[in-house]
Amino acid sequence: MSTTTQPVGAPPSPAPPSAAPARASSQGGRRRRGGPGGRALGLGVVGLWLSLMVLLPLAALTVRSFDDGLSGFWAAVTAPAALAALEVTLGVSVVVALVNAVMGTLVAWVLVRDEFPGQRVVNALIDLPFALPTIVASIVLLSLYGPNSPIGVHLNATRWGLGVALAFVTLPFVVRSVQPVLIELDREVEEAAASLGASNTTIFRRVVLPSLAPAVISGTGLAFARAVGEYGSVVLIGGNIPRETQVVSQYIQQQIEIDSPAAAAAVSVALLSVSFLTLFVLRVWATLSQRREASTA
């Protein structure tokens, strides 16, 4: 989890333990605890727990999304209102992810490279969106940007409102993934580049950015995956106007309310595919870039 608060300037958290000792320990463990019977029981309990809680619901969802056959599934996903909701969701999520990429990196930069009074408070504030319940995020934003806005900004039931809500709940992703990399970054390379006459823009583009890029991209991807499925924070400020501000999760809820569960299941499967695909691409890309780094090092 990335919800841990990392003090400014603190050394990066220790690397995750390598797989090697784990493998060795599982060998020793086999000799240790109970008989094979107890272990089989434990594995059975784990299997049953994960199946009952996670796998079976998702299996039921997938199977029942085809209740009306493949054509029924396709019709549900390509219904004009469903497509419109998908379009709104993906569009706003992409924009929010990009805003996060820029502003998140900037905030991380200011938290690591700058020094000003109150910096620790600002740093602690970053985790707030993760700790705050999503419905509270919705209410909090409404109190400033809603119908009774004290500053006269009314984002209620607009795509701007959606964007602000999503930017709020996804704020920590990029900041918290870039910050540790920035702390670790070797500043001597930057100084060498400067002494060779490189301008700040060049240094940032050629030296800093390439090192930060993997963290920025992974944070942005996680923010995007979170944004496409978000519900609680947009439910009050979004307005749920079909084809305007209705996001996919709201459309799915509507399908359950008008009693068309197969359509709800089908669109849910589509939404799940988007999040899974995003996370899958991120993981593959991370593995590939790690391998590339290992081969050049």
Binding site: R30, L56, D127, L132, L144, I256, S275
Partner: protein, 269 residues
């Protein structure tokens, strides 16, 4: 890279304006709206029968979810860290799955499994236990979204401490249970506590998955988050929604504080 004084100030201002506009000002405004009329109206608003029962229901769900996640989460973590698990990669992915699923999709999945006409829909007819639109459904939804926390906090600790002490205990004749209670559990306690804190925070704050499987009656099946929603949408009681949200925010801030303190303990073990 040395930025000029002006550039530094510009970057700092830009970052702070973004954070202030997005985080700080909205929170100050909601606090001002909540407490602007004094403490009395706030207390009255969070002490209505519906609010008290919502708080009780939220705490009840937490009280059921946490033990389930502790017991099954620790067993899962031990299995992943210590035993030979078939299809380990798949099991690891299944544990992480709840993080990737939209809360609304969680709700729909549970309806497809436990609801009327679902795979296990017959349970309600044969036993009379109402899962969807009842307490069990809300608990299952909460367990789904919080399932990874304990496993993900305990498993790395198990890897880190290794098995030497456990083996030594076994050599000295300790049974599997004795080893677990005397060696393993004390070693994982901070990781476990951290996982529990994350679970509590998420369980108190879960909204999307719970609203899908709750009947949402005030005083009966409304959690705190559902209360915020219904006060704003159904009752047009904006002030009541603000106060309930502030109460939830207070709980969240306590959790955040606890996390920060625990994190220090956990890393300086």
């Amino acid at each position: 890279m040395r930025t000029s004084r002006r550039a530094t100030l510009a970057l700092r201002t830009l970052a702070l304006v973004y954070l202030v506009g997005l985080l700080a000002v909205p929170i100050v405004v909601i606090l001002w709206r909540t407490f602007g009329e004094g403490l009395g109206p706030f207390l009255a608003s969070v002490r209505t029968p519906a609010a008290v029962s919502a708080l009780n229901l939220s705490l009840l769900i937490v009280a059921i979810t946490v033990p389930l996640n502790v017991v099954f989460g620790v067993v899962t973590a031990i299995a992943l860290a210590r035993w030979r698990v078939p299809f380990r990669g798949v099991v690891q992915a299944v544990v992480d799955l709840p993080f990737a699923v939209s809360p609304i999709v969680v709700g729909v999945s549970l309806i497809m499994l436990w609801g009327v006409g679902g795979w296990f829909g017959g349970l309600e007819q044969s036993t009379g236990i109402k899962v969807i639109f009842g307490l069990p459904g809300m608990v299952i939804a909460t367990v789904f979204v919080t399932l990874p926390f304990v496993v993900r906090e305990v498993e790395p600790v198990l890897h880190e401490i290794g098995t030497e002490q456990e083996q030594a205990a076994a050599t000295l004749g300790a049974s599997g249970w004795q080893t677990f209670w005397r060696i393993t559990l004390p070693a994982i306690r901070w990781g476990l506590t951290y996982g529990v804190v994350l679970t509590v925070a998420r369980a108190l704050g879960e909204f999307g998955a719970v609203i899908m499987v709750s009947s949402g009656f005030p005083g009966v099946s409304q959690t705190l988050t559902l209360l915020v929603h219904s006060r704003y949408i159904d009752d047009h009681n904006t002030y009541g929604a603000y106060t309930a949200a502030t109460l939830l925010m207070g709980l969240a801030l306590l959790t955040l504080l606890g996390m920060t303190l625990l994190d220090r303990k956990r890393t300086h073990r």
